[in-house]
């Protein structure tokens, strides 16, 4: 077990820069999730940590040791691949012990290691089978077994759940979290699924275009996004990002949105950044769960603002009901209790929890605080 540090890492293929100066650090036993849309460089970064791709410049440090120049097998890491990458011609047992065999570990020691892992993952009865005879979930377990048996300093996971069906994915997610608790080993985990990122991570790095947009705890990422990209990417349904204008009303700052009949005003927190935007456009961001029916609103909040809104469409989703509201010239989504009484094409009073609202510069996308 060890901490992992990535310092000023660059990676280019010819003239195309894929990673542009990555700096990350995860403490011993931490769970770092790299998340972002496809092409953001997260998998490349993982491969650079693994040593499967050479870095152009920068350093990867595991524990106190720089491993940038080391062969993957010498870095004391283990990796679980998206496709599981089980050797098709070998039995489960052979798959798990292949690395030890290459390193020349003795037979009895290998045997013991296989047994230990098989028990931990409950795959004992699969040991003699070939990968082609396993279900998706079983393959996933074997792939984890192959990683676990190495007992590495750092585990690397490359979108390990993306090939599973929805239900199995949730089960395996829990299982990975449980394993992490038990082993306490540092993990770096790549996913494009923001829910996976929020549920698993102790630290999240949101990436885009080879740059880390924000690096922080799941809570920071979700509630305190540094820019519009992070705000939009994390959370489902996505945060409502509505164009508005900063105005002064009744001695306070307000944001003015296009409501269903004319202007709708909501109070802004009094900050220098926002005051400096007087009369200018800003983006008003509010998550669907902070925009709800008054009965379902967070009663601990002191900044609830009720406004009449025109509901276009109602989408019951079992545990919640979503209402699509025309606001700021766009469609905004409100998240209501499942049994909220609401009907489409009517005007309804909805509550904005302004304590949760965030604001962005419409041009740069940066957060205005």
């Amino acid at each position: 077990m060890a901490r992992l540090k990535i310092e000023n890492l660059y990676k280019a293929y010819g003239a195309t820069e894929v990673l542009k100066g990555i700096d990350l650090e995860i403490e011993d036993g931490g769970f770092l999730v790299l998340v972002g849309p496809s092409g953001c460089g997260k998998s490349t970064l993982l491969n650079c940590i693994a040593g499967l791709e050479d870095v152009t410049s920068g350093d990867v440090v595991i524990g106190e040791r720089s491993v940038t120049e080391l062969h993957p097998s010498k870095r004391d890491i283990a990796m679980v691949f998206q496709s599981y990458a089980l050797y098709p011609n070998m039995t489960v047992e052979k798959n798990i012990s292949f690395g030890m065999e290459i390193r020349g570990v003795g037979k009895s020691e290998r045997r013991a290691a296989i047994e230990g892992v098989a028990d931990m993952l409950q795959i004992r009865e699969l040991l003699k089978r070939k990968p082609s005879q396993l279900s998706g979930g079983q393959r996933q377990r074997v792939a984890m077994g192959r990683a676990l048996v190495r007992d590495p300093q750092v585990f690397l996971f490359d979108e390990p759940l993306s090939n599973l069906d929805a239900k199995l994915r949730v089960d395996m997610r829990t299982e990975i979290k449980r394993l992490h608790k038990r082993m306490g080993t540092t993990i770096v985990y790549v996913t494009h699924d923001q829910i996976e990122a929020l549920t698993l991570a102790t630290r999240i790095a949101v990436m885009k275009d080879g740059i880390v947009q924000q690096f922080g705890t799941p809570d920071q990422i979700y509630n305190d996004p540094v820019n519009m990209f992070v705000a939009d990417f994390m959370g489902s349904p996505a945060m409502n990002l509505l164009p508005g204008t900063v105005v002064a009303e009744n001695g306070g700052l307000m944001v003015s949105l296009d409501g269903h009949e004319g202007e709708m005003l909501l109070p802004l927190p009094d900050s220098d950044a926002l005051r400096g935007r007087m009369g200018q456009k800003i983006i008003f961001g509010i998550r669907p769960e902070a925009f709800t029916d008054p009965e379902g609103a967070d009663r601990t909040s002191t900044q609830l603002e009720k406004r009449d809104c025109f509901v276009e469409v109602v989408e019951p989703a079992g545990s919640d009901t979503f209402a699509v509201v025309k606001l700021g010239g766009k469609s905004a989504v409100a998240r209501l209790r499942a049994d909220a009484r609401i009907s489409p094409e009517t005007v309804t009073s909805l509550a904005f929890n302004m304590g949760k609202a965030v604001f962005f510069d419409p041009d740069s996308g940066e957060r205005l605080k």
């Binding site: 491969n47 693994a50 040593g51 890491i77 050797y87 290459i102 390193r103």
Partner: protein, 293 residues
């Protein structure tokens, strides 16, 4: 050659079906007729061929033409039959096929899993080499074989066929390995396996289908080659096709058509057997050679 017939059958009348089958059967006759003629006439005495009906079954069955073709027919100046040339062909084909297939496999492995700056160019050069008219290499090749002391030897022919087979064997393996998951190679790297270990332990065990295709393709091409054989071989190395041509076109004596037919079938037999035993792979090879990927 996968996939079932699709549901666009012309739902025609009985008459259309009969026409379709008639055309199909006529073409079957077209393709089978030469083989049938060769086979039946190789079992007739010579006077029956000259006087009679090419399509008729033999009246007097005889296997003498086969015996003659195999062991004592006059070929060139020696009454040796085709047997020594058959053996020459075997000694030429087996090493040429094995070496070019092995090199093709390694090349395909490097080109897909360890590509480096310039490896694409190497592949392009190999690929283009598949299609050159071999006439263009005849003159310099003859000189080089002479310089290497390989002129007129079976080893020389093995070298020639290996070199000019490399393009296709590489192409086959490259296309196959391109579809082989790279993550497996990465997993093996993390497990500490080296370049050759990964090839032997991970890729090679999964390569049987493409190896069969490649071997059949190479076998058929090398066995059936005539140009290199006629250009570079001496008595000790003349392959079957060249010997057959010498047998058929020898200007001396009476034309023993029945012996020629027997000889032709003998020359065709190895590739025909391969085709019958593993037609599926044969077709796959043809396709892979024609339609890339």
């Amino acid at each position: 050659m996968s996939g079932a017939a699709q549901d666009i059958a012309m739902k025609g009348s009985r008459a259309t079906r009969i026409i379709i089958y008639t055309v199909l059967i006529l073409f079957m006759i077209f393709y089978l007729l030469p083989l049938y003629v060769m086979l039946t006439n190789s079992l007739k005495p010579l006077d029956e061929i000259r006087g009679g009906d090419m399509l008729a079954l033999p009246k007097n069955w005889t296997i003498e033409p086969w015996r003659a073709a195999w062991s004592y027919a006059q070929i060139g100046v020696e009454p040796t039959g085709l047997r020594p040339y058959f053996i020459n062909s075997i000694f030429m084909v087996v090493p040429a096929v094995l070496i070019s297939t092995a090199l093709g496999a390694l090349n395909g492995y490097v080109l897909t899993k360890w590509s480096f700056r310039g490896s694409g160019l190497v592949f392009g050069l190999l690929l283009l080499a598949c299609f050159i008219p071999f006439q263009i290499v005849l003159i310099p090749m003859a000189r080089i074989l002479g310089m290497l002391g390989l002129a007129g030897t079976t080893s020389g022919l093995v070298l020639v066929h290996t070199i000019y087979g490399l393009g296709f064997t590489t192409l086959f393996f490259r296309n196959y390995y391109a579809a082989f998951p790279t993550e497996l190679v990465r997993a093996a790297q993390i497990d500490g396996a080296g370049f050759f270990q990964i090839f032997w332990r991970i890729l090679a065990p999964s390569s049987a289908p493409i190896a069969v295709v490649t071997i059949i393709w190479q076998f058929t091409n090398v066995w059936n080659d005539f140009l290199f054989g006629v250009s570079f071989a001496d008595f000790d190395s003349i392959p079957m096709t060249v010997a057959l041509n010498n047998l058929v076109n020898s200007s001396t004596g009476v034309k023993e058509y029945n012996v020629h037919f027997a000889g032709a079938i003998l020359a065709a037999l190895p590739t025909l057997i391969v085709y019958i035993v593993s037609g599926r792979y044969f077709v796959r090879g043809l396709m892979a050679g024609a339609v890339k990927g």
